[in-house]
């Protein structure tokens, strides 16, 4: 009896001890899930690159992604919106101050609180690359800067007219896929992003992500190389096509997403199959380190603040393995790379650069001295040499 009672007391005390331990285990697993994505803030760079009234649909594309992103929580201070032309106040717009995405004017994506950061002729390849890499003049206002850090997840959305390997900006210049890949590499080296989702809706969009080589990039495009992305529906009262097919179905998908939704990237890859889009959307995940199935839509499209209250201290371990060391433990000595001097002071002040090692004198100097010596010996003759020396 006593023994039995003692057993019960022991079990009870054991239970009492293990509950907090179990509880802290539970908290630790929750904490593990809490920081599974590794990012702490979200940014979005949304770019429409075409101007002219008949490219209304590109502005509507960008504004519909802007609307979704804002609805899911990313504030205007963390969105860089670049629109190459003003459709809402275009003289040809029969409904001024509106941009519609659905025909019969169901949805006005312009709204009344849109904040455009780069407008009209400010949308250029140079400005876009400067925004990405952060090389902006000191006078640039904060709203025009991408102030991301190494824990930022960035969504980049581009739309306009494009081709195999390029995207046309403003009818006069282009950005190539190599430039874009290099810009992302610069961002990686300057630790300007944690993970980056790149979406592009143009003709032959898949060619733009072919050249990416930096880690943690995931890319989606509306059509493969050799295919055109098609526009969706015209509105007869306005007289133009309102949206492109891919972004239209993307918008419909995103309207179902709410801040607590657990939809993941695999659902995003299924948006707009060929039966709806006519073109074949593509995606690229080989540079991304997590499994796309575990990446939530809100990791990129929303700015979700998770709060968990605990009374215990928790040891946090990084769930993401650090990237594999590039140079293998001292086998190959790689020369450290340096950036080219942006301001080559030495050339400006006409300083002679320090020579690292001795080079034999120039051929010209040699030849000149040889000539002088020859003339000398010609004039004075060798036999006179012993008089000189």
């Amino acid at each position: 009896m006593d023994y039995y009672n003692l057993m019960r007391i022991f079990a009870f005390i054991h239970l009492l001890v293990s509950i907090p331990h179990g509880y802290s285990n539970y908290v630790e697993t929750k904490a593990g899930q809490f920081f599974s994505s590794g990012h702490t803030n979200n940014w979005a760079v949304l770019v429409c690159t075409s101007r002219f009234w008949f490219n209304y649909r590109h502005v509507a594309n960008t504004l519909s992604v802007y609307r979704s992103v804002k609805r899911l929580g990313i504030p205007d201070s963390h969105i860089v919106l670049m629109l190459a032309d003003d459709m809402a106040c275009n003289y040809r717009n029969p409904k001024p101050a509106t941009v519609f995405s659905h025909k019969n004017m169901e949805l006005n994506v312009y709204g009344d609180d849109v904040e455009v950061d780069y407008r009209g002729y400010e949308v250029t390849v140079e400005n876009f690359l400067r925004v990405l890499t952060g090389r902006l003049p000191p006078s640039t206002p904060r709203s025009k800067r991408l102030l991301s850090d190494d824990r930022s997840n960035i969504l980049i959305y581009l739309t306009g007219h494009g081709g195999n390997g390029f995207l046309k900006f403003q009818d006069s210049e282009e950005i190539s896929n190599m430039e874009l890949a290099d810009a992302f590499e610069q961002m990686w080296q300057k630790r300007r992003y944690n993970e980056l989702l790149f979406i592009i809706d143009t003709c032959q969009g898949a060619s733009m992500y072919e050249r990416f080589y930096s880690p943690n990039l995931m890319a989606l495009a509306s059509s493969q190389v050799g295919e055109d992305s098609l526009s969706h529906q015209p509105d007869l009262a306005i007289g133009v096509h309102l949206m492109d097919k891919y972004t239209f179905y993307l918008l419909e998908f995103l309207e179902e997403v709410h801040p607590a939704s657990q939809a993941n990237m695999n659902d995003l890859f299924k948006v707009c199959p060929q039966s709806q889009c006519v073109s074949t959307p593509g995606h690229r995940t080989d540079l991304f380190q997590r499994d796309p199935g575990s990446v939530l839509i809100t990791d990129f499209f929303g700015s979700v603040r998770k709060v968990e209250i605990t009374k215990d201290t928790i040891n946090l371990t990084s769930p993401v393995e650090p990237p594999i060391q590039r140079s293998g433990s001292g086998d190959i000595q790689i020369e450290s790379l340096t950036y080219v001097d942006q301001l080559p002071v030495a050339e400006i002040i006409h300083q002679k650069p320090k020579q690292k090692d001795w080079h034999p004198p120039d051929g010209f100097i040699l030849g000149l001295w040889t000539l002088i010596l020859l003339v000398f010996f010609q004039t004075y003759g060798i036999k006179h040499l012993k008089h000189i020396f």
Partner: protein, 615 residues
């Protein structure tokens, strides 16, 4: 040695050229005719398509519905026109002002060189009334023009009514990016010329006009309306303008696209398109449509009020409503919707229409032939002239070659004197100048001496000078002292052939139809003309294929094609009126067909006439 510098090889080549010249020329001529006729064959043509991206497809919603209002306005306009005996200026100004337009008027006057018997006018005095609809939000840099003529009698009342109804409807819309000018011009082309000259601050035709008080920016496109009945069965599109200039094909494509969208029957040259291109009737129909366009383009006059805009690089077309004998009729509201759609699409333009072709032929509204396809037909004809010239050049150089071969005692025959060749050239051109200047200047003297009206005097003087030129060779020979040598006529023919080739080439570049028609009749006679042919027969052939007779044949063919064939005497009267219209067009609007024929083609033909009678 090189192909041309080796004398043996050169001799072989030139022998080949001389031997095969005549057969090649005949083959080229036949090929040119066959190529031209083959242009109307549907598999050789391309389907028309919209080239301008900014205009896109026909996706606009047309909501114009004030057809009844347009008809009542037409009746009011008719009543006021009768009361005023011309343009009812005050009523029009009040009507346009009531619709919110900025209204201005322009008065003009012109004294024709001689009375126009077709339209019965001599001293023309009139007023243009136009109202500007300012774009609500856009700067006043660009404009579109819609115009309807104020014609005497019962014509074009509905056009003006529709114009006013459209103005009222357009004034309520806010999506205009360009100003729209609604113009009612008096005395059709003369009024239009006065307005255009006033708008662009030019004065090319000696018109007197009051300066325009209101202006709207550079005009991007213009549409001219001709509507004379309450219901119509089809709409006809008229493209040919002054000097054979055509508007950009995109304007025709726009019209055709909207006709298809609204289910309106549309025609070109008054002929409806057929679907059976593989039958003989289908091909003949397309060929007839194309021939009509060629004839209309060749005569160089503006076939609608739009034709004068083209000179200022403004793309313009005329739309005429036709009330035929068909069962299905359309009302004015449908035409209003069509115009609303077209103007809305033109509103979307960012630059002038320039993406599509400026030089084309239309066998039907949905098929076109571009310059790259029709130019070889003319090229083959020009090649004939060049081959003959080359043959003559080789021939002229041959005696020199024989001398080089070492026959020392053979004397080089003396080359023809410059005077021998220059005299016919100068005299021919002087006759041409006489043909150009004298008919108009000598009309008073002719009226004094002969019982004819001024118009008849002018035309008959022209015909007389033309016929008098035929007597020239005999008189020229009497002037020249020396003998006419073999060399002489060959050099003259060489010069004349090259001159004709350059002339026809330049003409064909600007007005392909004119160049081609002249080439078809002139090239056979000029290429084969020598003094050694039987004189009577070749003289008859030359006269029958001279420019004047070409015009006569064209008149008869035109009448056949529009299914209103005429007898010989009626044809002759038509021919005389065509000559007077040509002279008037040149004086009033700057058409270049009459000066070209009188100053260049006729002297060229005279030079060959001289060669025929060389002795």
């Amino acid at each position: 040695m090189g192909l041309l510098s080796d004398p043996n090889r050169r001799k072989a080549l030139t022998n080949l050229l001389t031997r095969l010249n005549a057969p090649i020329c005949m083959v080229c001529y036949l090929a040119a005719i066959v190529w031209f006729m083959g242009l109307a064959f549907e598999p050789f043509t391309l389907r028309t398509y919209m080239s301008e991206n900014a205009m896109g497809s026909t996706m606009v919603e047309e909501r114009f519905s004030s057809g009844e209002r347009a008809l009542s306005l037409a009746k009011e306009f008719d009543a006021h026109k009768r009361k005023a005996g011309g343009m009812p200026m005050e009523w029009l100004v009040k009507a346009m002002q009531a619709r919110g337009l900025e209204v201005f008027t322009q008065s003009f006057s012109r004294k024709l060189p001689f009375p126009d018997e077709n339209k019965e006018r001599y001293m023309v005095r009139g007023t243009n009334v136009y109202g500007i609809l300012r774009a609500p939000r856009a700067p006043r840099t660009e404009a579109l023009v819609i115009t309807a003529p104020c014609s005497p009698g019962n014509s074009n009342n509905q056009a003006v009514g529709l114009l006013l109804a459209l103005a009222q409807y357009f004034r309520n819309q806010i999506f205009w990016a360009k100003d729209i000018i609604f113009l009612v011009n008096e005395h059709d082309l003369i009024g239009m010329q006065a307005w255009l000259e006033g708008y662009h601050h030019t004065n090319i035709t000696g018109m007197e006009y009051s300066p325009l008080q209101g202006r709207a920016g550079s005009i991007q496109a213009a549409l001219s309306l001709e509507l004379s009945s309450d219901v119509i069965t089809s709409l006809d599109l008229i493209l040919e303008g002054l000097n054979g200039q055509l508007p950009n094909l995109d304007l025709a494509n726009l019209f055709y696209a909207f006709c298809q969208k609204l289910g309106v029957l549309c025609t070109i040259q008054g002929k409806l398109q057929r679907n059976d291109w593989d039958t003989a009737e289908g091909y003949t129909h397309a060929a007839q449509t194309m021939m009509l366009m060629v004839l209309k383009q060749a005569c160089g006059r503006s076939w609608g009020d739009h034709g004068l805009f083209l000179r200022y690089h403004i793309e313009a077309a005329s739309i005429r409503g036709i009330n035929g004998f068909r069962h299905y009729k359309m009302d004015v509201a449908t035409i209003g919707r069509l115009l609303e759609g077209m103007v809305r699409k033109l509103n979307n333009l960012l630059e002038r229409l320039h993406q599509s072709y400026f030089f084309y032929l239309l066998p039907s509204l949905s098929r076109f032939v571009s310059i790259g396809y029709y130019m070889p037909a003319f090229g083959l004809l020009a090649v004939i002239l060049l081959l003959r010239a080359l043959d003559l050049w080789v021939n002229l150089g041959a005696p020199a070659l024989e001398a080089v071969d070492g026959v020392t005692e053979a004397e080089q025959p003396s080359g023809p004197g410059v005077l021998t060749v220059l005299t016919p050239v100068v005299i021919s051109h002087l006759t041409g100048v006489a043909l150009y200047l004298l008919p108009v200047h000598l009309q008073e003297m002719a009226v004094e001496h002969f019982p004819v009206s001024e118009t008849e005097a002018v035309v008959l003087t022209a015909v007389a000078i033309y016929t008098a030129g035929l007597a020239l060779p005999h008189n020229t020979q009497r002037l020249l002292s020396g003998e006419g040598t073999e060399q002489g006529w060959k050099v003259l023919k060489l010069t004349a052939l090259l001159y004709l080739a350059v002339l026809l080439g330049c003409t064909a570049l600007i007005n392909f139809s004119l160049g081609f028609i002249l080439a078809v009749t002139l090239v056979p006679i000029t290429a084969s003309m020598t003094p050694h042919m039987p004189k009577a027969l070749s003289a008859l052939a030359m006269v029958l294929l001279s420019p004047a007779f070409t015009i006569l044949y064209c008149v008869f063919i035109y009448q056949e094609l529009i299914e209103a064939p005429v007898s010989v005497s009626e044809g002759w009267m038509l021919f005389l009126s065509v000559i007077s219209q040509g002279i008037l067009d040149h004086a009033l609007y700057g058409s270049l067909v009459y000066p070209l024929l009188a100053l260049f083609i006729y002297p060229c033909w005279l030079m060959f006439w001289n060669i025929l009678f060389w002795s």
